[in-house]
Amino acid sequence: MINTNEILETLRMIDQEKLDVRTITMGISLFNCVCDDEKRLASRVYNRIVRQAEHLVKTGEEIEREFGVPIVNKRISVTPISLITGAVSDPLPIARALDQAAKETGVDFIGGYSALVQKGMTAADRRLIESIPQALSETDVMCSSVNVASTKAGIDMDAVRLCGLAIKELAEKTRDRDGFGCAKLVIFANAVEDNPFMAGAFFGPGEGDCAVSVGVSGPGVVKRALEHVKGAPFDVVAETIKKTAFRITRVGQLVAQEASRRLNVPFGIVDLSLAPTPAVGDSVAHILEEMGLEKCGTHGTTAALALLNDAVKKGGVMASSHVGGLSGAFIPVSEDIGMIEAAACGALTLDKLEAMTCVCSVGLDMIAVPGDTPASTISAIIADEAAIGMINTKTTAVRIIPAPGKKVGDFVEFGGLLGRAPVIPVHPFASDDFIARGGRIPAPLNSLKN
């Protein structure tokens, strides 16, 4: 029997500490839509998604009401679109079909306008990457990603160069909204096939026909738990985080199981992530500061984040039957009030963020840089980040916004979950000749580690 204190504790976590389920994401395979006629392909994609996800939003809302836990987003991820557009000349009609299907089903986002090019690009992959600026500027809720590197394949530097150009062009096309389009594009290394989080969600080719996955959240709950162990050694800190992560993940597992049962779709995974929002009390940076750092980004931040990321996984893994996705602590700058403050006061720099991505769950996320940053510099930032992922056998990513017309110290405003970010400086020295080389950086050796 559950006691009164436990019940009131759960209510406090939801009401005051912003415990929520960030997303129920339905993964939908589009392989059965493949054909060589653009119009028919687009209508098949639209019908497939609308039919499969018909009850997703309603079911999510029912679960939210009955269990009293907020489910912030309902989302859809699909097969990487370049894999189904090999026989058509233009992927843009599919982008429009995805956006329309998402709106028809009422979900918040749809992800999977993606290409997996870690080893090389097919003609369809290249067409898709080149179409990203147009696709993301004319759609509203569609997200895109490109996997440019992996530990087994190395880094595709031709794709890295193209992605830098695509990001610049996309920022320009969405100039009136501070380059907002770039918030919907992630460039990955070692991308996972079952990630429920945006903008990088796609439903990988190794998945089945359909699955529902859940991404949990709850930085506020962890921060509050750490407030009770002020000054205690790190052993206690790690234990406290593990116990809290366990509870948060159990909520995710319950929601995932219920969604799977009610929608009659297999359960995919629970993604054990601490996903912040710009709201006060929902910050990963504030957890790091609670460990004893004056500001996130100062010396000690990487160690604090390493402990947090590892303890979240250790605590969460026992609470769920299948763990996957990106699992860990996210460090998006614009989406985290503590990160915004730290970047604005100069405590948090791009170089420190890069170091933090060696131990966090993903990578450089929602970072605004000056609008005059060259495409080659953006490509070089992507290459650095991909190298970290490749060598350390982890997922890394870049979601960066070269905000048109903005300079260091200005702010970009995206609103909602995407928040706001100070424009932070990049190195002024050029990487043009480095990026112009193209080719592939070979896959690394996985022994003789030092």
Partner: protein, 93 residues
């Protein structure tokens, strides 16, 4: 699962006369049995937790939830009903 048919009603807000009576009345009207009840008052702030049996409901969960929400609004209290599984998931291994 036996717990699948239980729910927890929580009432939070400033204390006043008749809160338990009125919440119980809504449940009685819908033929719902109260299995457990506990109440504390901290600095005039009223906390009540009730476990109720939903195994033989005379209405849907949504209707009951609306009844309780309406009562909460009328009394200026936060009244919630949540299925029991969320608490079991979080607090039991």
């Amino acid at each position: 699962m036996a717990s699948a048919k239980k729910a927890v009603v929580t009432v939070l807000g400033f204390d006043r006369k008749g809160i338990i009576a009125q919440v119980s009345h809504v449940l009685f009207e819908r033929d719902i049995n109260i299995l457990d009840i506990s109440q504390t008052i901290l600095d005039g702030y009223f906390n009540m937790v009730m476990v109720v049996d939903l195994s033989t409901p005379t209405c849907t969960f949504d209707v009951l939830q609306k009844d309780l929400n309406d009562l909460g609004k009328a009394l200026g209290l936060q009244i919630r009903i949540q299925k029991n599984e969320i608490f079991e998931a979080m607090h039991q291994v």
